[in-house]
Amino acid sequence: MISLTRPPHPKERRVIFENIFKPGYAPDIDTYISHGGYEQARKAFTMTPEEIINIVKASNLRGRGGAAFPTGVKWSFIKREDGKPHYIVVNGDESEPGTFKDRYILHNDPHQLIEGLIISAFAVNVQLAYIYIRCEFPKAAKIMTQAIKEAKERGFLGKNIFGSGFDLDIYVHQGAGAYICGEETSLLESLEGKRPYPRIKPPYFPAVLGLYMSPTVVNNVETICHVKHILRLGAEEYAKMGSPGDGGTRTLCVSGDVMNPGFYELPAGAVTLKELIYDICGGLKPGRKLKAVIPGGSSAKVMRAEEVYKVKTKAEDGTMVEKELAMLDVVMDANSLAAVGTMIGSGGVIVMDDTRSMVWTLNNLNLFYAHESCGQCTPCREGSLWMAKMTTRMLHGGGVATDPDTLKNVADNIAGRTVCAFGEACAWPTQSFVIKFRDEFAQTAQNGPSAPAKV
């Protein structure tokens, strides 16, 4: 159990993290049941699967794993009665830099995930589900396995659960230290015991040709947990909590140069970037100025502090008008961040102040992507390494004037030319950093690094 003592910020609305913080809250089944646990799963069996899918659709729940895909829509791709086995695989790989929410659920509230999974499995007619947990969470795997055992002993899993005639078995599968296994088709290959090379889409959409070539739903840990609360609150109230098209709460994980880093569960779209950094996270360290923010995990395009975006909004008479929007006024939800050319992604917000070198920052990320590329596609395998070598060389004073252009050119030739979205994930940081901090990159290329910042 990881100890969590911070009381909620007044702006927070704890749904997923409602109980985790409470003193004495433990991951065992009795604690969970005494907090209203498994009531929604019981209720689910009084409904039809179609009703559940429709409620999830109406709730505007969008995936919390990175792509923000509408969950109800994803589920409706599975044909319940096609006679094939179906699977759900929960994505607990949590390895997008900047993201640290699922680990708390897996360690401290395992039954919340199991309950969400029971409801989801019933909705898409699944009898066998796996929870894929990265092996760097060894304790979480033990806690989850124990929780599954407890649920089975109570008749909540296994044969004829809750006396409904419905069977469901869940097993934990541990990864082995590779970031790419968070990508859903790589995760499935990994679960099949193969080298986890992502599969090409089409035709290998998980909903069609997923685990063991059968229709499969892959959802993030937090996404599955939300399902329980949608049943509890009703689709309408759940949707209302969030912003249009992005229902419920979002957990934002803030790290880097703020006074109070941590994770904050907020109604989707409840705060602007300014409120997040200055009200909720206590602002920057004394005397520092904001320089850049990565808003949705390391793959999201960086935002520059003084940036002003032009966004199209609907005026009262229904016509579209272009408006200027300062970076700090951008609202933290899926649509608003997409409108300014970046993404909410996994909700990992990394804040950098004016002591940070952007070349150093990008180099750190480039080394990550160079290490984690699976190596299957040439543009990604070679390009990620090439970009890392260039930024490393720039930091060692070996830059040349053409470096910023070459960097961007390499990145431009990765995105859109690969099997999986890792290609974009590794290109976007380089593209956005070089474009938005052009002068700094040119300077470092020509004059070597200014002294790298230390904390």
Binding site: T99, H173, A176, G256, I350, L367, C374
Partner: protein, 180 residues
């Protein structure tokens, strides 16, 4: 991706009955395909024997009715698996951005220094393999990528324990929890 030696030091192994029983239990979790049990079996093997040698690869392949290459290609792909011994206590310091901003490179070097592990190998990108082991064989230190605890950076994973907000001054106290 990492490249590794193609042959390993073979350990003379006998697989104890309780370990094999654990493996059989794992295999039962995959009613559709035994091959799915290859990662769990590799984990069990490495936890028990310390690393995965060619003998381990061949043994697991036989157990799952696969070719050795089906197992070897996993060992060489996944950063977690190793083909040579590490220390009994493995210290994995997070290298990625939020931890780096909080000084994780210095932290890693300080761990190395405290354990008399040479740090001249420690460029920014040399995380993963090969692991550096202390002269007494008790400890090894390596960089790993984001451990999903960026809000309490810098962090490190020591065996199964996550240590958060680790300061260099806390190193002696932390290491004393893992005395040989």
């Amino acid at each position: 991706m990492q490249s590794q030696a193609t042959t390993t030091n073979r350990q003379a192994v006998t697989v104890p009955a309780d370990l094999e029983a654990e493996m059989d239990e794992m295999i039962s979790h995959y009613p559709v395909s035994k091959r799915s049990a290859s990662l769990p079996l590799l984990h069990l093997w490495q936890n028990h024997f310390g690393y995965i040698d060619d003998g381990g690869v061949e043994w697991i392949a036989r157990k799952l009715e696969l070719q050795p290459i089906n197992i070897l290609e996993l060992v060489t792909f996944y950063p977690w698996f190793r083909q040579q011994a590490a220390g009994k206590t493995v210290i994995r310091v997070c290298r990625t951005l939020s931890c780096a901003m909080a000084g994780s490179e210095d932290l890693k070097n300080s761990f190395c220094k405290a354990l008399k592990i040479p740090t001249d190998h420690a460029g920014n990108g040399d995380h993963g393999a090969p692991e550096e082991v202390s002269p007494d064989g008790e400890y090894s230190v390596e960089f790993v990528e984001c451990l999903a605890s960026c809000g309490s950076a810098p962090v490190c994973l020591i065996n199964d324990d996550l240590h958060e907000n680790v300061s260099e001054t806390a190193i002696p106290e932390i290491l004393s929890q893992y005395k040989k």
